[in-house]
Every structure is written in structure tokens, then in C-alpha cells.
Amino acid sequence: MLHIDYTHYEALRAHGEETYPHECCGVLLGKSNADGNHVREIVRAGNTRTDSAHNRYNIAPIELVKIQRQARGLGLDIVGFYHSHPDHPAQWSPTDFAEAHWIGCSYVITAVEKGKSAITNSFLLTGTSEEDKKFSDQPIEIEVQPVSISTNG
């Protein structure tokens, strides 16, 4: 299960709309435990694939180093990544799979259809190594924070 609050969920979907028709990408920071990955922060990342940004994304390793450092400062871990598929389904592609190396992390994909976010899916990369890794469908639990309402009179 991927646990994410509504604000972060909507923020990563909005990112895909902002970068449309190019792919967006970012990192999910949080904690992992027995019931899944819990997102506490999302960090937008730049897409270095300016040569083919409509159908490819890549996060510069030095940016990942800095994001991991940021996570450490917050007492969090990198628990996943997100990116968009402009005018393509929210399903992992052979390229996504080949380039996925963070076993135990969530890979969130949002289909952005004609500039509007559509379906968002999450896939958990499981296995023990490159040789036996696989993507599994991962349910998303969107957590809504309770809102306090005050009234006058």
C-alpha cells in the first residue's frame, strides 16, 4: 500500500499538468513499514531528458544525492518516485521497468490526457536484485487530514 495525503497526491498530479506535454518527475520522501510506504514530502525534480522530454524522464544523479541528503535532514527516506505519461496510460512501460532499480520503492505514474491529469497508479518494485525484480500493482490510500471548522456566534 502507498499511503499519501491528499495534498501531496494532488501536488504530484498538478506537476504533470504543468509540464505537459513533457513528462514530469519527482521523489517521494517518507517512511516504509510493514503496511507500506508512507509519503511525508514530495520533491519536484528536473527532467534532464530535454532531447525527448515528451516520452522520457531522467533525474540527474547529483540531484538525487541532494534529495537524499534533504531526506536525511528531515529524518525521512526516499520511498518512491513519480512521473507522468503525457497522453499515455498510467501503466509502467518496458523503459520504466528497465530503468527501475530502487527495490522496495513505489513508482507512481499519472496519465495526463490533453493536459489534464487522469488516472494515477502506483507500482511497487519488488525482488532482491536486478535479475528477479518485478513491478506489482500497489493500491494507493489517499489520506485526508481532518479539517477543523470554527464558527462565530
Binding site: R49, I59, T95, W102
Partner: protein, 103 residues
């Protein structure tokens, strides 16, 4: 020196996010790291003993691939080494259409 371990490899460092390993060069540090945590070796290196292509190594903020001495780069105990797998992907070149809704 301190080595920062990415989330997926912490299963092989008893959950440690940062481990301290001695060594005068990056190569020595890796030798000591994989001696201390043997299961990391298969995760980091190919059968030919080369760093796997998707494994990025940074000495402080410098990419090891672009350091002139590569693995022979000397390091101090105050330097930090970060292991960071790459992250990339994208769609295939198949356009969506009205008969293939976005799933």
C-alpha cells in the same frame, strides 16, 4: 569515511543509512565495505567486478566517473561517499487514441 546507503540497499547493511568504513582510496573503501557487508557486492558490482551501470557513486558532490583517478581517487575520513542508483523511464512511442482509453 561515511558511506550513505540508498533505501533499497539498506537490507544488506542491517538497515543502516550511513556506514563508516576505512580506506585511503575509493577502491579500498569499496573493498572494505563489501567485506563488512558481503551481500552488497552482488548488488553493486557485475560478475566482471565492474560497478553496475546504474549505480552512481559520488565522492562528496563529485561523480566518481568524472574524477581523473576514478576508483584510485584518494579520500579522507571526513569525505562522504554516496551510492545512488539511477532513476529514469518513460513511455513507449505508441500514441493513445479514442479507442484506447487511458487506463
Amino acid at each position: 569515511m561515511n558511506i550513505h546507503i540508498p533505501t533499497p540497499l539498506r537490507a544488506y547493511t542491517a538497515g543502516a543509512e550511513t556506514v563508516s568504513v576505512p580506506g585511503a582510496t575509493v577502491a579500498e573503501v569499496f573493498t572494505n565495505l563489501t567485506s563488512q557487508y558481503p551481500e552488497l557486492k552482488q548488488q553493486l558490482f557485475s560478475n566482471e567486478g565492474k560497478l553496475r551501470s546504474f549505480v552512481n557513486v559520488y565522492v562528496n558532490d563529485e561523480d566518481l566517473r568524472y574524477l581523473p583517478e576514478k576508483e584510485a581517487t584518494t579520500v579522507a575520513s571526513t569525505d562522504e561517499l554516496t551510492i545512488i542508483p539511477s532513476i529514469a523511464g518513460g513511455t513507449d512511442l505508441i500514441p493513445s487514441c479514442s479507442c484506447c482509453p487511458l487506463l
